[in-house]
Amino acid sequence: MKFSLRTLFTQGLSGHTGWGPQWRTPEPKPEYDAIIVGGGGHGLATAYYLAAEHGVRNVAVLEKGWLGGGNTGRNTTIIRSNYLWDESAAIYEHAVKLWEGLSQELNYNVMYSPRGVMMLAHTIHDVQVFKRHVHANRLNGIDNEWLTPGEAREFCPPLNISANVRYPILGAALQRRGGTARHDAVAWGYARGASARGVDIIQNCEVTGINRDAAGAVTGVETSRGTIRSRKIGVVAAGHTSVLMGMAGVRMPLESYPLQALVSEPVKPVFPCVVMSNTIHAYISQSDKGELVIGAGTDAYTSYSQAGGLHIAAHTLDAICEMFPMFRRMRMLRNWGGIVDVTPDRSPIIGKTPVPGLFVNCGWGTGGFKATPGSGHVFAATIARDDPHPIAAPFTLERFRTGRLIDEAAAAAVAH
């Protein structure tokens, strides 16, 4: 069913009783041309582009829980592409360009809202780093501009630019094309598009083993719903990547950490943009439901607990209250954690592995949501052609052996 004003009107005439499920719920077939392990945004996008752009339609997406129930449904939905290195800028900008047309492409409103992402500088070092980013981004044709504290407050009026705070604001970098999107809609939109093109989306199906033949190539997976055969397997499992790759005997340069977020009670529109402060670990925007969506830092230690320590969230709220004094009496509704897979250079790993037929897309760390369309797009091409997409090529697993790291850890000023 195509969503349009006409469908809405005709459904309205029948009392909105005719809306069907947006994707099929098939039983797993014994064999597929490709299996994607992980039904989050990146996995579903991969399946969608495999079917839509490469004609690989006999595909299964295996999800151990429910669609978008992992980090896709747990993040703070920030989208931006103002990364320092050329390789990173290329992939994140590829994603932003896809975001811009995604609702039309999927015929599903992902509520992409380019309301501007402002990154605050609190120290001289921040100022130097952000100005360097602004120049690097401009060379790569990516919009990013430097704002004085006064200009920053003009863009975001609730901001406290007083000098009498612990971490005064010395300026900000603003990417106007950055913004947010609706996380659930991204997963559901890709699922709907993929399902309509023949992809089988199988929820509550946990992969428990990866089968290989005598030559070492993959032959399929063992799951909680039986054996499923395929010569191509793409692992897109975020925090659980090390566990899954271990089933094929591949060790990964990953550590999984809990990353927390929280939302406030809903209020009327008060916050016009996205503000990030890496130095004092706070990210904030307002959802269309009116909740303040606040992102905190990672815990100090690796964990799969999907919770995280309360002192981490409290630290972030200290920062929020200092930067935005008007939120001091807001009450928080919920907080939660997602498990993020962090690489040594804080750049993702996309591509082939030492095991023939096994592909991996992981290591997005604390900032994977923004890349969802781009990640799926280049990973689908990599799987379909059995050869890395040019944008994905620098992000190989091989780089940890060759030493060609893409060191955004130091460069992006991303809080890790």
């Binding site: 659980h240 090390s242 550590e255 230690y301 690796t302 964990s303 320590g309 940890f400």
Partner: protein
């Protein structure tokens, strides 16, 4: 917040400590003889298990000593801690 039993100082809150990654990653006696794959394994590859994990902590706001710790990464419960340089 974890309560971590420092082998030297006793149980203390997590924010007195610094996490220092996987334990028992042995630095070879002659690293210059390693090939690229072995160096990648040493520097970057981590077991990152879902379950029992041997890890290092340092009591930076206490005795200053590194020590090892066995923790379950699903429940975050600490099984035990033991001095650096001793077997798990």
């Amino acid at each position: 917040m974890l309560i971590i039993p420092c082998p030297h100082c006793g149980p203390r809150p997590e924010n007195e400590f610094r996490y220092s990654g996987e334990a028992h990653v042995v630095r070879p006696a002659d690293p210059e003889t390693l090939d690229d794959a072995a160096l990648a394994e040493l520097l970057y590859m981590r077991s990152n298990p879902k379950g029992r994990h041997a890890e290092r902590w340092r009591h930076i706001h206490g005795c200053g000593w590194f020590f090892n710790c066995i923790r379950d990464t699903v429940t975050d419960r600490i099984e035990r801690t033991y001095p650096a340089g001793t077997a798990p």
